[in-house]
Symmetry: C2
Subunit: 391 residues, 2 copies
Amino acid sequence: MGESLTDVEFEAETTLPAPGGQRGAEPRRAAGAPERRGPIGTQQDGRPGPAEGHEAVMLLERARAEVDPVLRAALGSLPGPMRRIARYHFGWERADGTPDEGGSGKAIRPALVLAAAAALGGPEARAEAVRAAAAVELIHNFTLLHDDVMDRDAVRRHRPTAWTVFGDADAILAGDALQALALRLLAQDPHPAARVAAARLADCVVELCAGQHADTAMERRGAGEVTLDEVLAMAEAKTGALLGCACAIGGLYAGAGDADVAALDAFGREAGLAFQLIDDVIGIWGDPSRTGKPVGADLAARKKSLPVVAAFASGTAAAAELAELYARPREKEDLDHIALTVERAGGRDWAQGQAADRMARAMQQLARAVPDPEAAGGLLALAEFVTRRSS
Amino acid sequence: MGESLTDVEFEAETTLPAPGGQRGAEPRRAAGAPERRGPIGTQQDGRPGPAEGHEAVMLLERARAEVDPVLRAALGSLPGPMRRIARYHFGWERADGTPDEGGSGKAIRPALVLAAAAALGGPEARAEAVRAAAAVELIHNFTLLHDDVMDRDAVRRHRPTAWTVFGDADAILAGDALQALALRLLAQDPHPAARVAAARLADCVVELCAGQHADTAMERRGAGEVTLDEVLAMAEAKTGALLGCACAIGGLYAGAGDADVAALDAFGREAGLAFQLIDDVIGIWGDPSRTGKPVGADLAARKKSLPVVAAFASGTAAAAELAELYARPREKEDLDHIALTVERAGGRDWAQGQAADRMARAMQQLARAVPDPEAAGGLLALAEFVTRRSS
């Protein structure tokens, strides 16, 4: 499971549907409407619906444009060698120090901070939350730098990971420095919410660490020895926690009360889990021409992804067969056959049902925090964007 | 140089001289008196003078007693696995999770925070700075956990390092969590100085990272290729920065102005450099029965310690001989002969002179920040404690 959870990069389709495309603009559902379950991870054309997709892409682009100057200034304050590693990681420089235009990720987390601030505090709160949004993005990238070292992942955002270029020590140090920069940004932010946001972000770091620990610890166990509860808890800590924290911090900058902040946090967590479930489904049954990974790469790596653990836990005849397939030497494996067995054991249906369920819960939490559907639109669009993928 | 700088654990002699010992109680010099140069690293009996030594030991013990409950509460808030690794690192638990009484270090940095707060703000400021003192100690320990992974150091405080027990990933994660705990402590501190202290501590983390980067980068170069300026700058970043930050934060909690805070920072930095110089002298010429290391361990490891780099840079005939000795295969080396050659090239004298010089500068900065010698006594005692060692 390591990579898909570790990345938590949303490589979703950002191409906008052509004007006048096949699907008419669906009326946007009010936040909190759990009926829209069908499309999660199952839509036929692999594209977001025009309305939501368009809005999400605009929100992401705007967030990236607003947060980038803060990030560049923060990284620019680093001493030379740390700056170089960090800029490389963000895709702004090549290994030789020349400028690069590599993508630095989809800015999902900053977009969630800003959308949550806007939802409860309007444009003013949104503008005031830009620094906090950058802090969240720095924390995300600090964990990516460290996770790549631990997981020995060699590629991130289609480029060699920092540790493969600069070595383990420098990748660890650059990650350490990014965590410090994130908390310095909040310490220097005069906004009254900055202190509480900093404490919340620090708590989230601890949870991210615990999630990564659980992930690496699970790698050493057999897929049949891991319970669904364990793997769900790990996914929540590794993926859900920071999405939840991003939404909560946006709420704090809008002056939201404790209950609304908690609901925003829960919204982000549930949407994060839905994302992870879909990401794991794609990791097994996705189209290799779109995922950029060979068929069944997650299965070949024996990742304890959520559908696989669910299949093992199903108690079916297919589960017993799966255990046998996993016990065989890897050279002889038939990945298509393993994928089919996971499916027959119910792993795929379970994951898609769970994802739909999590998104329904996310919508309920969103409706609690932001009862006005118009105001909730941005957060809704972002949540649907990250979960309505088929590639 | 890795280990002595990385540790920055002050394994100084804490045994108090017997009552009625050989040396009479010297009258304490006023802060800012640079005349007391002789004893730095050269005293005959290897013990601190009764007055300073006694006061420093009391200050360290009191700091440890006050900070420990905050540290234990902070670590207690970690999720299970992270908590276990952190407690092991602090010497509070064995690898099997049973309680241990291992030392968790001398608490020099927390003692400096508290002494600086007391010097400029009296007992009230001192009491208010306990949380900040714990935050500084958490940062120190986060860097130790990470540095040990990078430097592959296997022993710390006479115990196996965390990575040797729990693996690299968990040691990195526990370090990440300690950094987050440190900045959370300050984010949750209602004291008006907490925000500025947090920003300063975050800046210090960046400097510590840059120092560790410089240290690991130097390991890959020959001793003759490293300049004295480089190695001094590295030592200041790795060792001086956090001692300076500790003093500065204490000043901030006492409500000190910018100039006094800057002078306290400079005091801690200079004292830290003096410490490092003495530590490097001890690493070559120290008594193995007291250092716990074999004779010439730093030379055998070809560490680019300050006296060695000074010897290489001396342009003497001995420097040329040293270069020859370093180029030979290590099996044939005569460590006593190398030590003598470093000494003949002036490395030992240079280091001791530099240490005295740095302590003189430290005293000047201290006199600037704390003109009242009585009030400056605690900081003076701590600075002398860490530099007046011969073991």
